[in-house]
């Protein structure tokens, strides 16, 4: 055991110093056909509730198939950490990796290097120019369109809205924004501004409160990232405008769902991270066993988004709790 650990340590040190060229070695010469001995990995892009749900999905697939799953979370969510994690996983000799690349364009080389020695798929966020075998995840443009449609329903008479997001350089933020903009193009709903908070939740709340001061006639605040929903809700509450200003957001943080239930949030567009986890592990194991039949022609498996409003929030929340085992 100790020798193994030292070996592991040495291997990761080697990878760290010598660069990716030497990363592929140790797992050669160990053909293990049965699923019980297949080990696959799931790499997230940060640490959040969202990924805990995906983890529950990987657990379910693990139980069904009897394979092993390494679930890795880059602590501060940087591309550099992801690179190190992927290199270490390759060194460990996993059969396949499902990753949500932080910075797809600049990580393409790293992904291709890994794809040489393991079955590599992307999930949540795609890297279409890399050698990944398949993408499993949301079409964020479609998610934006769904939000746009919900806005149309929420604001039948039009009005001014403002968008809130962590950073605008992330692909999913841009896609969601584009989806909303395109859907609202010919309506009398006007997007007056987009404010960013660099993922600081207090700042996100501050932005919402400031928006209500700057534009007293705002009809709706839209939060594009998961924590923006609770932050906006809290900001609107602090400004004493609950009920006067509508809120539309994304994802399924507890506070968001409670807000939908209480009627303070008009609706939230949710992805299905549980499916990301579940389907990624299943696909990786199939690929490792040499079965590529599940990969569609265009190499994209789109998991549809759902619109959660007051009508279906109870059922959705109950199912979510069942999946994650939270009470």
């Amino acid at each position: 055991m100790i020798t193994f650990l030292i070996g592991l340590l040495l291997a990761s040190v080697l990878v760290g110093c010598a660069g990716p060229e030497q990363a592929a070695g140790p797992h050669e010469g160990a053909p293990e056909p049965a699923a019980e001995h297949i080990k696959v990995a799931f790499v997230t892009n940060n640490a959040s509730d969202f990924w805990q749900i995906a983890k529950a999905g990987t657990e379910k697939a693990r139980e069904e198939l009897g394979c092993e799953v390494a679930f890795r979370i880059p602590p501060t969510g940087t591309a550099q950490e992801q690179q190190q994690i992927v290199q270490d996983l390759v060194t460990l000799g996993v059969a396949g990796i499902a990753i949500s690349p932080k910075d797809p364009e600049n990580q393409t080389a790293m992904l291709n290097k890994a794809a040489e020695s393991v079955k590599l798929i992307t999930q949540d966020s795609d890297a279409p120019n890399s050698d990944r075998l398949c993408y499993i995840g949301t079409d964020n443009y479609q998610a934006g369109v769904a939000a746009g449609e919900l806005l149309n329903k929420t604001l039948p008479n039009g009005g001014k809205i403002m968008l809130f997001v962590g950073t605008l350089d992330a692909q999913n933020a841009q896609d969601r924004k584009k989806g909303i903009e395109d859907t609202l193009a010919d309506t009398n709903i006007e997007i007056v501004d987009t404010r960013t908070d660099e993922t600081d939740r207090l700042k996100a709340k501050e932005n919402a409160q400031n928006a209500l001061v700057t534009h007293p006639d705002l009809a709706c605040l839209v939060g594009l990232w998961s924590y923006n929903g609770p932050a906006i809700l809290s900001g609107v509450r602090a400004s004493g405008k609950l009920g006067q200003v509508k809120i539309v957001c994304f994802d399924e943080e507890d506070e968001t769902l409670q807000g939908v239930k209480d009627g303070h949030i008009s609706g939230t567009i949710v992805q299905q991270p549980f499916e990301f986890g579940y389907q990624s592990v299943k696909l990786l194991v199939a690929l490792a066993e040499g079965d590529a039949s599940q990969v569609p022609e265009n190499k994209q498996i789109i998991v549809p988004v759902k619109t959660i409003t007051k009508e279906n929030v109870d059922a959705f929340w109950a199912r979510l709790k069942e999946q994650t085992g939270k009470s």
Partner: protein
């Protein structure tokens, strides 16, 4: 005193220029609206408390880089203890969290004095360490207080004299704390000893000040006050992501103190300056947002303003020195 005058002039100058610019552009001044004042004072209160704590350590010539992570750890612990499962009573949790805060500071102080480690190193390790613990404790899941604890929540979200009043409770708490700290630092012998220790530790020790004890107390006080801030900030946000909640807050706290005229070399500074320094940073962030200056420029404005403020301070001090 001269320093505080310069800083106050800078604060007022920024506000006047921004307001007139806004008035010329749009014909009204949103910055001065009651609603904005209520928001702004809340943030000044929350971040000002962190700066007050930081001032203690900076006056001794030290620094506390762990503030943001301590805020995260204590906030998440409080949420866990209060809201998870059965939940403990706030009467138990609040003293518990504040005691833990003081113990963290005590530990920093002991490492700095008895083990003779550098404050930068001790608290830098703390920055990583407490963040990690916060993530372990919470399993990386977002924490919150739900809708419960109305009275505790009032401390972070309420207003005085009535709910429609101008004064946010966190700002009032900040004011009371500032008065206490100012009284201690400027009116008691302990306060004078702290400045003496910061200016020249050897000299202070030879003149009979128990420097090690005093230093440990300074670190403990810093973390204790940070603990108060952590509880209020956590209750105010009510949605605490373990990976990023509180990150960077130590730098805002330090910026407020430095802008307020405290030297990082220790031994100088005053509480009024810290209050205005901390306020100036919040005013700037607020103005960037209210005037709809692109978000991207925010850090440029803050960085530039701090640099300018400290530079101005240096010029004033030199003039004063030359005149004397």
């Amino acid at each position: 005193m001269r320093k505080v005058l310069g800083l106050t002039a800078l604060l007022l100058g920024v506000i006047i220029i921004a307001c007139s610019w806004e008035y010329l552009g749009t014909g009204n001044v949103k910055f001065l609206k009651l609603e904005n004042a209520r928001n702004l004072l809340t943030w000044i209160g929350l971040f000002g408390i962190l700066s007050l704590g930081q001032a203690f350590v900076i006056i001794t010539g030290g620094i506390d880089l762990s503030v943001g992570s301590v805020v995260a750890l204590l906030g998440i612990l409080a949420a866990d203890l209060l809201a998870k499962g059965e939940g403990l009573s706030p009467i138990v949790v609040v003293p518990l969290v504040l005691t833990l805060a003081a113990v963290i500071g005590l530990w920093h102080g002991v490492l700095v004095t008895k083990a003779r480690m550098q404050p930068f190193v001790v608290t830098l390790c703390g920055l990583f360490f407490y963040r990690g613990i916060a993530r372990v404790v919470s399993g990386d899941e977002t924490r919150g207080f739900g809708g419960a604890f109305p009275r505790l929540g009032w401390l972070a979200n309420g207003f005085l004299p009535t709910e429609d009043g101008l004064l946010p409770v966190p700002f009032v708490i900040f004011g009371l704390l500032a008065a206490l700290v100012a009284g201690f630092l400027h009116l008691t012998p302990y306060g004078r000893h702290l400045f003496a220790l910061g200016a020249n530790e050897e000299a202070a020790r030879f003149s009979g000040v128990r420097t090690q004890r005093l230093k440990i107390a300074a670190y403990a006080t810093c973390s204790f006050i940070t603990g108060i801030g952590a509880l209020l900030i956590a209750l105010n946000i009510n949605s605490l992501g373990p990976t990023n909640f509180g990150s960077f807050y130590e730098l805002y706290a330090i910026a407020g103190v430095v802008l307020g005229g405290c030297s990082l070399r220790g031994g100088s500074g005053n509480v009024l300056g810290v209050i205005i320094g901390a306020a100036l940073i919040r005013v700037l962030t607020n103005l960037v947002s209210i005037l709809e200056i692109p978000s991207q420029l925010e850090y440029v404005v803050i960085g530039g303003a701090i640099l300018f403020g400290v530079l101005l301070d240096e010029v004033f001090t030199r003039r004063a020195g030359a005149a004397a």
